[in-house]
Symmetry: C2
């Protein structure tokens, strides 16, 4: 049996009781180590909590490790632990498909992920459009396909959850060229970096998907004891220090309900200015809507 | 302290370890009883599992009960339990706002909800647009605002999660007129009912948001031991018996990735016919896209 188990967001104790019972039944326990991190836990604290040794599965070895995971799961109970919920990444879906092909039983034990816990910022989940990923820009690679997706969401008034890049195990290419495989220190995109990239792309495209004054919510360490929110404009958040990772950002759509705004104002430094920014931003797609009607 | 605790989808043991520890610290425990049900649990089995008495909070009494909850939370630890995750309904958001106003500390302990666990059907979460609610039609009330929202999602190729109505405590009006307050038996919308309503609205509107041949996924008892999926057309699902509640439906958007389709085919009775339906449906919004470009 292969147990696919979501770990939730922060603490070892964020696993469900059913998930913990399953881990304790497993002979081998794998933890995916490339799509996210459990903020208030380490491999060691998890091992202690589960009473099991953990093998970390990295993206670069997931193919060969999948074979190992599946071979083990044919004989014994095996757990594959995923930060957040189980189906956050296509590689996890792929693992389930391969297990099925080999006739291995799969049980999924779900948990919270940023995709639903983001409701903690006060915006209603059913008013979110598609989520988009924002990756670290490099000198030669500045992918901006998120722009069109944000535009699509905002045209119909929906909020957009921006998922920020993490790099937890990047090979150090300088060292690699000398024949040594070493890894760079982990990097987590900050709210400020994300907002700077968004501003850069809008400046280049000038299609008005959003402006520097578009209201957003910075989310720090969602689900942890240091969870915090800041409601401000995109420009303001591009200069905001959101503290320790992990971060996410929500860009508001124009369908902002009074109750949502009331909740958000608690996170705004200048409540009147934030209200004004929301109102101004709501006019941005009015022309589109009139054209449609 | 007010603990807002998500219970997940099905079993008493779907609560997180941290959530359970919090419940055990609480003097009073409330369970919201109007937005969803925990499929494989009863009030009694939860009380036994927690070692605590539970008070069910109903929609009709939530206002007055909120006062009671907040008064208690000023003095002691109080738990407010929510099926799924904490921020599924606006009434829960409202409770947090009122707690804050009264200076009561609030801690949220998240869990899985249909909003993220729906990934178990094989469709990628970041390709979902806004979720829509489908309510029971009555003779005089057949609200169809979901239609425009599905259209918005499908124009940009996104999948739509349809959340099906439940009625767990409807007053029996015939009895009420005789002066007796009694309740009708609980009702849960089935996949077939949902799809029939969708077909009726398309027939009336004829705007082509979807057709009887649009591919969908029926989801039964997500996260429970009897979880099952069926991939078929809207018309087929309007005649499909999805078994015991709770049910949900996903309507596909045209952005279907090969990996998504591969996963879904496992749930199709006729794989070739389902593939053909996906392909045919993808052409539906091609004209729109060409017009845009």
């Amino acid at each position: 049996m292969l147990y696919m188990i979501g770990l939730g967001l922060a603490y070892p104790e964020d696993i469900t009781v059913r998930g913990l019972e399953a881990v304790k039944k497993c002979k081998k326990v794998f933890l995916e180590g490339y799509t996210s991190i459990l903020m208030d836990a380490t491999k060691e604290s998890l091992e202690k909590f589960y009473g099991r040794k953990i093998t970390i599965a990295y993206r670069e070895t997931v193919e060969s490790q999948s074979d190992e995971i599946l071979a083990d799961a044919k004989e014994d109970n095996v757990a594959f632990l995923v930060v957040g919920d189980v189906f956050g990444a296509t590689t996890h879906t792929d693992l389930v498909i391969r297990a099925r092909e080999q006739g291995i039983q799969v049980e999924c034990i779900h948990n919270a992920s940023v995709m639903n816990a983001v409701g903690a910022c006060g915006l209603q989940l059913y008013k979110f459009g598609q989520a988009v990923s924002i990756v670290f820009f490099t000198d030669s690679w500045r992918p901006d396909s998120f722009y069109e997706k944000i535009m699509e969401n905002r045209r119909i008034g929906l909020h957009t959850l921006l998922l920020l890049d993490i790099k937890v195990r990047e090979p150090d290419f300088k060292e690699l060229m000398k024949g040594h495989l070493t890894y760079e220190p982990p990097r987590y995109m900050s709210v400020a970096q994300c907002c700077q990239e968004l501003l850069e792309v809008e400046e280049k495209k000038q299609e008005g998907a959003y402006t520097p004054d578009t209201p957003c919510v910075a989310i720090s360490r969602l689900g942890s004891s240091e969870q915090s929110f800041k409601a401000a404009t995109l420009k303001q958040l591009s200069e905001y220090d959101a503290g320790k990772p992990l971060h996410s950002v929500v860009m508001l759509g124009h369908q902002v309900h009074d109750l949502e705004l009331e909740y958000l104002l608690d996170y705004a430094d200048d409540k009147e200015a934030f209200k004004a920014a929301v109102k101004k931003d709501q006019q941005l797609f009015e022309k589109d809507e009139k054209k449609d009607n």
